[in-house]
Symmetry: C2
Subunit: 481 residues, 2 copies
């Protein structure tokens, strides 16, 4: 017989290189403000610097580590910078990084309860915690008929919700027979692109997705929703799914969930709530108004990987009736059969999601909640909202700017009063300069800057400096005209 | 204004706690053989030991770390144990864990090229490397019309392949109109459950998934495939998709891809190759026969997170014509528009996958290839195959056992000649004892043990000892009868 090759890292080598990697990350956070927030490379530039062929022989870890600075860093847009105010945040944090490291180290598969019971049970437990933390209705807890699961993203949570709604509306016939073009889904014109993507993937057809108009606060008009549902039903269609958004991507608008929920209950539609970013705010009792009406929903999701300091990927997805989700997604081939599954006493999370395999993602969320404490998390939310209100005051105080949407939680939408061109110029020049990073959207057809305060490292000074830079650049552009 | 809260870890605290976590993992690998491979807890046992409520105030990291041993470890099935021979391996390795750690630390979103160019460009580059490493056809390289992307799992790669096939067959009409029940897909009776799941999700309907019978080597019968395609077409259906498996989950059977490919080309069907586990073997020229005919495929996937020592999640998915995939999955809302995307000069990987967000997964794969070197990886594959051949000889030499499938690469399927009952007893008793872990399948309706040698830490002694334990347990069970 032959000897095993010996190229893997020994535990002691892992220790040494692991310390070095930890140091690299700690150093990175110490110097993160020295980089332009938005990567300044041109297309193809990073790739051109990479070696054409992979090495035949292994390389020392030190060489790999040195290449991070040389080859990778120039191509990084620094999402963890305190000067990152674009999109929504994708927060990492110390405890989350280390929880994720533990998940990598344990390297378990959580597809079945039996393949690592702790992976399933900690996930169920922490999801039940989250129900209490966000003031969500108890019906989402695993101790009743509902339950929570960690998905990679709100996109996949929404897809699972669409699939469950699809099967419920067809008595589980879509899985077997495919669609007949009769199922109709509804969301608002301001909903995230992942809703349309889910409708495509699930085979409902985008012509059966109705984009309900919004009011002047960019929230869904429930009277139109109800009217359309009735019209569709009268026309022989089967309305089956509504996605309401709690905090739209463009402006954090909050759909009127109590009214939408009443309509869904009355007309028997699946109501999914997409609270991907805003959900975290409900940690604070004073912001729990965002969850009014959620007790009428069939499913709900939010992303701790946005504003709750837990590394991507971590979306918490809750359902009112887990049996519908499981009946929708369950397949049990022989090679996955086992005593625990057969007993019915356990959760097998593979039946709650699209893929079979799954990481131990609950660890990072557990680490974050324990490290910050619930009260600690609340203080960050409050701080970010307070900072945002400050920016709102600054915008209002400068006659060259106007708000383009009602400010909500930790997002300000504003623009230059002279229109799209100076607004775009301002954004592009600021991002090219690299001291801060902002992104845009369109509201009522008009270009709008989005300023989102939600990065865990952002302090007062960063917000003050950012606004100062916005003013300076505005002055500069005025002089240049 | 208010002060930022100060609960996050400072870089120096991260350094200290990070070292401790690295030490914990190194220690874990040093003592991993001291644990029963299969977790021995009962349903609910882990959860019952967790605190009922989350902490209001943050806890010291030391307390969190101590709970790993106390609360989590008893509920771990040790996939990284050298005595894990169940399912297929889900390998972690030192460089992979550290590459994943770096990904967590950088915390970037790779949804668009612009949101971190290095994340996209390294991924494209490493995927092109993989084409050469596995001897795949150049048509899968990004330098032509094709390209590779890292998905979380083969399940999602297959789903993307089904979606692309679905749109191609309907002139991108399924996305808009949904299905009409006419599209038909084919795979073998031995295909992975994720194929059926993808067909369900994509709304083709499982009654339009034909399970083609297999030959006595458990490989798809291409003549039946062709006959069925013709019959379906004659009956007014639209055959659109075939999934061929290179290395089935039950027995590593390899479908006759050259013949299946010819049929797909002739009848204009999308051919997807699921090489989730076996693909890694093609690192070695002597095993590249498994990829015969792959030049006729439209898409191909394999999982470095199985046998190539790269932490879950890491599936490499390749397409012959990336424009079909992109046209299938692309949605461009205003808030994601940017100059680089508009220029067409860059890849935006969000259009190659279901979710929008994405981690920097290429880092761990890059680290693995560089640490082991291609030749190092090959030596592991060869060692595992050699060990497997040894087990085959042992099975053949013991009259109480019989092979239930032709041995292939690093998997042996065997059973007790007295049938299902002693075979099941043997497995259950071995797994309950905890020294090794084996799983089962059914082949020709008969219970079969699967012995897969692919864990990076497995050495000769582990395989010898495992076989010794199998013999001892067989003796013991005989005496007990």
């Amino acid at each position: 017989m032959s000897e095993a090759p010996d190229f893997h890292m020994t535990p002691n080598e892992f220790r040494r290189h692991g310390y070095a990697m930890i140091d690299w990350i700690a150093d990175y956070y110490e110097r993160i403000e020295s980089f332009p927030v938005l990567s300044q490379v041109n297309p193809g530039e990073i790739r051109a610097s990479l070696p054409k062929n992979p090495p035949e022989e292994g390389e020392p870890f030190e060489a790999i580590l040195a290449d991070i600075d040389r080859l990778i860093l120039p191509g990084i847009t620094h999402w963890q910078s305190p000067d990152f105010f674009g999109f929504f945040p994708a927060n990492a944090s110390g405890p989350s990084i280390l929880g994720d490291l533990l998940s990598s180290g344990l390297g378990v598969q959580g597809m079945l309860w039996a393949t690592s019971p702790a992976c399933t049970e900690l996930e169920t437990h922490v999801c039940d915690w989250i129900v209490d933390l966000l003031g969500l209705p108890d019906l989402f807890k695993s101790t009743g008929d509902g339950g929570g699961v960690i998905q990679d993203s709100a996109s996949n949570a929404t897809l699972c919700a669409v699939l469950a709604a699809r099967e419920q509306a067809t008595n589980y016939g879509f899985n077997e027979k495919g669609g007949d073009g009769k199922l109709v889904a509804y969301t608002s014109t301001q909903a995230h692109s992942s809703i349309e993507k889910a409708i495509k993937i699930a085979g409902l057809g985008t012509r059966r997705l109705r984009a309900v108009p919004v009011d002047d606060r960019f929230a869904m008009q429930p009277d139109v929703l109800e009217k359309w549902i009735k019209e569709d039903r009268a026309a022989g269609f089967t309305p089956c799914f509504v996605c309401a958004t709690v905090g739209t991507t463009s402006s954090l608008a909050i759909d009127p969930v109590p009214e939408i929920g009443r309509i869904c209950r009355q007309h028997n539609l699946w109501l999914h709530i997409d609270a991907a970013h805003a959900g975290t705010a409900a940690l604070c009792p004073e912001f729990r108004f965002i969850h009014d009406g959620v007790d009428l929903a069939d499913s709900y999701c939010f992303d701790p990987h946005k504003w709750m300091f837990t590394n991507f990927d971590c979306d918490c997805f809750f359902v009112r009736d887990r049996s519908i989700l499981i009946n929708t997604l369950s397949i049990l081939p022989e090679y996955l059969r086992n005593e625990a599954t057969a007993s019915g006493a356990v959760i097998d999370y593979r039946d709650w999601q699209v893929p079979l395999g799954r990481r131990f993602r609950a660890l990072k969320l557990w680490f974050v909640i324990r490290h910050f404490g619930v009260e600690g998390l609340r203080q960050y939310v409050r701080f970010h909202v307070t900072m945002t209100q400050q920016i709102v005051d600054w915008v209002k105080a400068d006659a060259r700017f106007e708000l383009t949407a009602p400010p909500m939680l930790n997002l300000v939408c504003f623009r230059h009063i002279d229109g799209d061109k100076p607004t775009r110029q301002l954004m592009e020049r600021l991002n090219a300069e690299g001291h801060i990073y902002l992104t845009h959207t369109k509201l009522n057809g008009r270009l709008t800057l989005r300023f989102c305060v939600g990065q865990v490292h952002t302090q007062e000074q960063h917000v003050i400096r950012a606004w100062k830079r916005i003013l300076e650049m505005t002055d500069k552009l005025e002089r240049g005209r």
